[in-house]
Structure formats: C-alpha cells, structure tokens
C-alpha cells in the first residue's frame, strides 16, 4: 500500500548554519520506505543537527520533501502530523505517567478536540498491539519513570508506532543497552521497518553491521558515502577520513 | 529643544536607577537562573543602612560616603545568607525560587516596619549634592547626576571584575556552561555565592543612592522590582550590555511618554510596549546562547 509521495523522504541541499559555523553543509539523501537506514560519522559530523533540521528544531535552508510538502517550512508539531517522528539521545518519556498513558497520549494527534476532554475508556486497539510489539505489556500500568533505560527507549519507539509515524528518526536508540537488549531492539526495528522509513543515528558499529540495510556516512556536515555496509567498508574515502583511526569494528 | 534635553536627562537618570538595580539582578538571574524577588528588599536594606549610618555619623556628606560601602556589605551579606539558607536548595526549581524569595521579601518588609516604624524616614542629602549644574541649558540636579555617575561606575566595576579577574572568568564560564565549568575544576558553589554577594551588594548600593531621590520606607524596594525585572528580561538574560541599553531606553521612553501624557498612562504604555517587544524578540535585545540558563 504505497501512497504516492509517502514512500520516501527526499533531502536536497540542506544547510544549517549557526553564527557562521556551518553544521550541515548541503546534504542530499533519499530515504526509502522498508529499509533501516543508519547515519554514522564522527562527533560533530552533523548527524543530529540534520535530524533537528528535518524535525523543525533548527532553521535550515534547502529542501526536505515528504508527502509533497517541504518540511523545512513547518513547525515541529506540524511535521509530526505529517507522519514523521523522532526520538532523542536521552530517552524522554513522561515519567509520571504510566506506560499505557504514555502510549495513549502519543495517539492524541489523531483525536478530535472534543474527545480530549473525556476520560480514557478502555485501551485503544493500537495501543494494545504496540504494547505487545515493544514487549511492555506487563509493565503497562507502571509509571514510565521506573522502567530500565532500554525499556524507555522501546517505549519511545512504541510511542512513535502509536503516533503512526511513517518516518522514524532515532537518535542513538541502543546507547547504554546490554547486548541482549541491542539485539532485541535491532529485531524490533526490522519488524516495524517493513512499512516505514527508519533512520538510526548510531555509533556502535557492531549494531550497524548487524542491522543496517543502508548506511550513510557523514563528516564535517557533508555526506561522505552512501551504500550498503559492504560498500561503505570498501569505500577508500571513508577509510581514509573516518574508519582508519576511530572505528575498529568495521575496518 | 529644551523639553527634549530635559527629558533625555530625566530619562537617563531614571534609567540609571533602574540600571543600578537591574545589574545585580542580571548577574544572579543570568548565572543561576534564580529570580530573586527579595532583591527589592535588599535595596530597602541599603536605604535603611544609609539612614542608620547618617544617624551615627551625623554628617550628611560623610554619611553618604560611608553608607555606600556599608550598604554594599549589608546587601551582599543578606544575599549570601539567602543563597546559603534557601536558594541553594532550589536551583533546579527556578519558578519556585520566585515565590520563596517573594515570601522572604514580605518578611523583610515587615521586619523593617517593626524595627524602624512605618513612617518614612528622611536621609538628609549632603550639601554638595543639593542644587543643580547647568548642562546644555538644563539644570541637572546634582543628586541625579551623582546617581548617573554612580551607576556607570558600578557598571564599569562589574565589567572590569568580569573581564579582568580570575573570578570573573569563573563566573563567565559558569554562565556559559555550568557542567563544563565544574568539570574543569571551578567550584560553582563558590562562584554562585560570590555572584550573589555581588548582585545583592549592588542592590544595597542602589538603596543608599535612592535616599537622595526619595524617602526610605519598607516598600521602597517593592516599588522598583517589577520594572527592574522587565529591564532584565528586555535586555536579555545574563547580558550586561543588553541591561544597560534596556534600562536607559525604558527610562528615556518613560520620560518622554510622561511628558506627553501622564504618569499612569506612561507606565501602562511602557509595560505594554515591553510585551510587544518580547513578541519580536522573545530573548531580549541580546540572546544568550547557553544552555545553563533557566
């Protein structure tokens, strides 16, 4: 069920500048549905800033087209309403709300204003499904604050699912997770990635190698290379600038 | 032309008063994100210090000169006590600090009322500050001129302290990035306390100086505090140059408006103008690019 214009996110010539410092310098990317994209690069490469630009957090010039709309013209919440969701480096869930309430609140975008004034009755189907998908069914009634770090990340991803985000931009989702949790997260991403565009910013090269369909390497605000894990490994430019001295996992 | 000159000077001197109060606020607000509503009462303490010193010394001129440093100490010590007893526990709750310090202010006002009595006290002005000097055909009252100079002097002193000393570097580093400052070995606790001493001490000086213009009563500080905060907000938090511009522009704007309309209308218009201004620049005149501000 491919909706025209909604099966890819196209980025052309995005540029972000802070007081003369160019953080993102003309990035072009095409992110297709059904693939798990990884965005890697050294600190300061501009990965998070790029995601910030795509989600309306920083001003950027260029074009980021999704569903025939230019994202760069819109405020954050309107971008979300187009079906683009993101997570942050530090998991931000509503710690005083329960897991269930966290998921439920994420579904709010699709509710009409009047229903907001009513109390929640029963659990919406989508929330149920999501609880199962992210494996938190048993924690449904516990405050999100008591979840483990990994579980909070899953909850965030779950919130994106309830939101029905077609594009998910995940900023280091497995940082601080155990090996077991990483594996589960990776599988989760592949499961939900079938019908979605998933973009993951990541430093952990094992994780990248195991789960990436496509990898984009950024450096100094530019795209250095783009391709499968194997192609990236083979790219001499990447090896010279980046892989050679920092990452042993891929080289 | 005459009106223009007189209103510019009147406005500048009113701005100087605001500046003197707001500089201290900018320091504490900027560095610690703390909204100290008791700042006005530190000012009041400075004014009463001038009154007491004058009684002790018995000479208006000498009294003023003694009262300025003593007022600085009194204000500063009150600030340190407040910081150590209350504010340090609340750095993560800036909004609540506002309410707590408002409460402290109420108590201090009532203490002043109980100690000094409700009637306003007059602190006699030194003879060398009575009368006026002609500037561009305008009789600039000596007292106001003194205030203007004092306020500029205080500002320069603060700037020198921030720019030239090790302490100043620590303060600026803390404003810039508190966590980073801590990791490079700056004791932010100590820096906070010193900044609070400095900011509150300036309020004390402002209080001493204000006795030249008006009476000394328990509510003298409360009458300035809202405007002083607006100056800080308009200037951009933690931005001394913004504070300076804001204080003088608000002072001059008010002076002209008041000349054209009335005192009440001028105040209302200035307040509304500030709200509109913040629409255009929610960050104030100079935005700070730092994440440690609340």
């Amino acid at each position: 069920m491919s909706v025209p214009g909604r099966d890819y996110l196209e980025v052309r010539g995005i540029r972000v500048e802070f007081d003369g410092f160019v953080a993102v310098d003309g990035v072009d990317l095409t992110l297709l549905q059904g693939q798990v994209h990884f965005l890697i690069g050294p600190n300061g490469a501009g990965k998070t800033t790029l995601v910030d630009a795509l989600t309306g957090l920083v001003r950027a010039t260029g074009l980021a087209s999704y569903d025939n709309q230019n994202l760069l013209d819109r405020p954050s919440h309107a971008i979300v309403r187009l079906g683009i969701g993101r997570t942050f480096q530090t998991a931000t869930v509503f710690e005083e709300l329960t897991v269930l309430q966290n998921l439920d609140i994420a579904g709010g975008v699709h509710r009409r204003a009047r229903s907001l004034l009513r109390r929640r009755r029963g659990v919406p189907e989508r929330v149920h499904e999501t609880l199962a998908t992210i494996g938190l069914t048993e924690q449904a009634d516990r405050p999100a604050g008591v979840l483990s770090h990994g579980q909070k990340q899953w909850l965030e991803i779950g919130m994106l699912l309830v939101q029905d985000a077609r594009v998910m931009l995940l900023d280091e989702p497995v940082a601080g997770m155990s090996a077991e949790e990483r594996r589960e997260t990776g599988e989760l991403l592949h499961r939900i990635g079938q019908e979605r565009t998933i973009v993951v910013i990541e430093h952990d090269m094992d994780f990248v190698r195991d789960f990436a369909d496509v990898v984009t390497v950024m450096s100094a605000g530019r795209v250095l290379a783009h391709g499968t894990v194997e192609e990236i490994r083979a790219d001499p430019e990447v090896q010279r600038v980046y892989l050679g001295h920092t990452v042993e996992g891929v080289a | 032309m005459e009106v223009f000159v007189s209103q510019v000077f009147t406005g500048l001197s009113a701005g100087a008063v605001l500046l003197l109060i707001a500089v201290g606020l900018t320091l504490t607000f900027g560095q610690m994100g703390v909204i100290n509503m008791a700042h006005g009462e530190f000012l009041m303490a400075g004014a009463y210090t001038a009154y007491v010193v004058n009684l002790v010394v018995g000479d208006a001129g000498l009294g003023l000169l003694v009262a300025l440093p003593v007022g600085f100490l009194v204000g500063g010590l009150l600030g340190v006590v407040l910081e150590a007893s209350v504010i340090r526990w609340m750095y993560h709750r800036p909004l609540d600090t506002l309410l707590v310090t408002y409460g402290v202010g109420l108590v201090l006002q009532q203490v002043a009322r109980d100690v000094f009595g409700a009637p306003a006290k007059d602190v006699p002005s030194p003879s060398w500050l009575s009368g006026s000097v002609p500037v561009l055909g305008y009789d600039f009252p000596m007292a106001r001129l003194f205030l203007l100079l004092l306020s500029v002097a205080c500002l320069l002193a603060v700037l020198a302290l921030l720019r030239r000393t090790a302490l100043g570097r620590q303060v600026r580093a803390t404003v810039e990035n508190r966590d980073l400052a801590e990791t490079v070995g700056i004791s932010t606790r100590r820096t906070d306390r010193i900044t609070f001493f400095l900011g509150s001490g300036l309020a004390g000086i402002a209080g001493v100086a204000l006795t030249l213009l008006g009476s000394t009563g328990p509510t003298i500080g409360a009458s300035y505090i809202v405007e002083a905060f607006l100056v800080v907000v308009v200037g951009g938090i933690g931005q001394l140059k913004g504070t300076v511009i804001a204080a003088f522009s608000i002072g001059v704007l008010q002076a002209f408006l008041e000349y054209a309309t009335s005192g009440s209308i001028a105040k209302v218009v200035v307040f509304l103008a500030i709200v509109v201004f913040l629409q255009v620049r929610p960050q104030g005149i100079f935005a700070v690019r730092t994440r440690s501000l609340a």
Binding site: F18, F21, A23, G44, T48, D52, L57, H77, V80, R81, R86, T90, T92, F94, E95, E96, L97, T98, D104, A106, V109, L116, R118, R120, D171 | F29, G33, I35, V86, M90, R93, P94, L95, D96, L98, L99, V100, Y102, G103, V104, G105, L106, V107, Q110, R113, D114, N177, V226, L230, I237, S262, G263, S264, F271, V275, L278, P282, A287, R289, A294
Partner: protein, 376 residues
C-alpha cells in the same frame, strides 16, 4: 485513573459539598458566612491557578487581571442598575459631570454582563496567551510578564477616576439582579451561589484532571518539547489551560463584587494576585482539592490573624511561601498523601522531581536548542 481514586475523588467532593452547603450555613453567623463567601470567590480563582500552574507549569502571577475583568464587569452592571434606566452611576455624577463613556452602556444588560464575565477573559487570555506561548515565552519570563500585565492593569484603573472610580474602585451597590444587597437573606443566597460555583469548578477540574487533556497538560508541563514531537503544539495545550484559569478568575471576581460590596485596584494588583497563588501553594498546586482548600484556609488565616495581631499577616504570608514552597512543594496535599503513604500518580507534586527538559542533542557546539531553552 483507577476506580479507587475515582471513588475517593467523588467522596472528597461530596464531603466538601456537605461542608460548604450544609455545615457552614448551619454553624456560622451571617458575618462569618459572608467572609466564607469571599474566600469561596478567591478559591474559584485558585482552582484555575491550580490548573494553569500546578498542572500546566505556568506560574500565573497576574490572575488579578482576570479577577478584575469579571469584577469590574459585574460592578459596572450593578452600578448601572442601581442608577436606573438612562441614568448615570453616582460617582460619575460627582466626578465626571454626569458623563458616561460609551463602553459602559452595554453593561446595562444583565445578559451582556454575564457574557462579558465569561467571554472577556477568554478574549484577553487568548490574545495574550497566544502571543506569549507561541513565542515560547515561558517559565520566569512568563511569570514576570503576567505580573507586569496585572500591574499595568491596576495602574490603568487607578488613572481613570472618571470611568473606573480610580483608586476608590466601584462600590456602594444596592442590589444584585433585583435582590436587595442589604437583606441578610440575600447575602446568604450569595454565599450559596459562590459555594455552588466553587463546587462546580472543582467538579470541572476533576473531569479535566482525568481527561486526556489533563494528561496532555501534565505531559506538556514536564516535557514540553517531547509533546511537540507527539504532534501537539504545546502552545495550544497551555493556552487552553490558561484561558480556563482566566475564566475561573473572572467568575470569582464577578461573584466577589456583590459578596464584598466593592472592587478596587487593590483587589486586582500585584499583591492581590500573588496572594491568590499563596493559597494554591499551601493546598497543593497540582492536587484537585488543594488549591480550593488552600485558598479557603489562607483567607481564614488572614482574617483571624489580622483580628488578633495586626501586622503579623505579612510574616505569616511570607513565611508560608518560604516554608511551603521550599519544604513542601506539593503543599498540604503532599503532606496528606505522604501521611497516608498513598503513591501518587499522574500530576503528583512536580516540585523537586521535575527535570530540566533537554531533549535535543547535548554537545558543545552551538546547539540547535536556543529558542526554547531559555526557560525551564
């Protein structure tokens, strides 16, 4: 919200209703009942502050503005009905040569007046709130702005002696919608009205607290940026809470006028506005009954303290802010629930546990977070 909480809430509400509508009228003299009616008016405004501040995280230091809008609208109507059709209020005859400004004219109609009491605050709060929240002015900035606005409003009122009664305010009302205000029976009626409205507004809050909107508001308070990435504009969420708080303050002010018999700039200024916050802080800003009970308690304390020790009120109010906000940010509600060791859930006391919201990347480069970071 669990069944048990719902039951407790309902029982608490019934107890409050029984106390206000049954116990109080039976036990109190007319004079004391009149005072209680006044506290009820404050409490109605306090309920709104509980929503905006406790639940929404907006420290509204200027609710006097809305209290005054409702109060003055009501007062103008009462003055006009006392004057009689086509006539001009007494103070205008004395101080303005009998000239009445045009904008007084609509308040002759009781319907227009009642609508104004409800809609004026909606209008003003929407315009101000939209301007403020859309520009992401929040935290301390917002508190200071709201305070400056109410200060400006009070100064404006004082400066317009001929149209607002100036510093004296509006007073000397004879009747309230046709009922004599000199009759003690009618004064009791007013008490029931104020108490009834208070109960209704608490009930409205109960519904809001457990509604999805209530959850969204708490979420916005605790992590505004995160809410933005749920596809909501936090400005709108806050705006709704702010406007509701404004309406409640306005209604409180409107009832205050016949109950107390006067409205003056003193009742709407900076001091009066912060005094409203005092009760909310004491009772528990985020709790359901806290703001109302706190306001009633503070009102009572003010009266009884000032009757026995003049001047001690300042110490009490000041001390209350220091002790409660510093040590008991959740107010008496927090103390009670700590006693009952009930674990709090949604919207438990936020103080002390609120984290600084920093969702975006955290690096040493000039970050992407400047516009919304300034306030916490």
């Amino acid at each position: 919200m669990s069944r048990r909480t719902t039951l407790l809430t309902a029982l608490g509400w019934l107890a409050l209703a029984a106390a206000l509508l049954g116990l109080a009228p039976a036990l109190l003299s007319d004079f004391r009942l009149g005072l209680l009616a006044k506290y009820c008016c404050y409490a109605i405004a306090a309920v709104g502050i509980g929503l905006a501040w406790g639940r929404g995280g907006m420290l509204v230091l200027g609710q006097g503005l809305y209290f005054g809008l409702g109060g003055y609208a009501m007062a103008m109507h009462l003055k006009l009905t006392d004057a009689g059709p086509g006539q001009v209020p007494d103070f205008m005859v004395l101080y303005a040569g009998g000239e009445m400004p045009v904008w007084w004219e609509p308040f002759r109609s009781p319907v227009v007046t009642l609508l104004a009491i409800l809609l004026l605050p909606v209008l003003v709060a929407t315009v101000l709130g939209a301007a403020i929240f859309k520009r992401r002015v929040k935290g301390a900035y917002f508190a200071i702005l709201s305070q400056a606005l109410t200060a400006a409003f009070a100064i404006l009122l004082i400066g317009q002696v001929k149209t607002t009664g100036g510093f004296n305010g509006l007073n000397n009302f004879q009747s309230f919608f046709g009922y004599s205000l000199y009759d003690p029976v009618n004064k009791r009626m007013l008490y029931f009205l104020a108490a009834g409205v208070l109960l209704a507004s608490v009930a409205l809050m109960a519904q809001l607290h457990r509604s999805r909107f209530g959850e969204l508001l708490v979420a916005t308070r605790d992590a505004e940026e995160r809410v933005r990435f749920l596809g909501h504009d936090p400005a709108n969420v806050k705006l709704v809470a702010y406007v509701l708080a404004a309406v409640l303050a306005s209604v409180g002010g409107a009832l205050f006028v016949p109950v107390v018999g006067i409205i003056s700039p003193e009742d709407v200024g900076v001091g009066a506005s912060i005094a409203l916050v005092a009760g909310v802080a004491l009772g528990g800003r985020a709790s359901l009954f806290g703001p109302a009970l706190g306001a009633l308690l503070v009102g009572y304390a003010e009266t009884s303290l000032s009757e026995s020790f003049p001047g001690s009120w300042s110490y009490f109010q000041g001390g209350l802010f220091v002790v409660v906000v510093l040590l008991l940010p959740g107010g008496l509600a927090q103390a009670l629930s700590a006693l009952a060791s009930v674990r709090h859930r949604v919207g438990g006391p936020p103080g002390g546990r609120r984290r600084r919201e920093r969702p975006a990347s955290d690096r040493t480069r000039p970050g992407p977070t400047t516009p919304q970071e300034v306030t916490a």
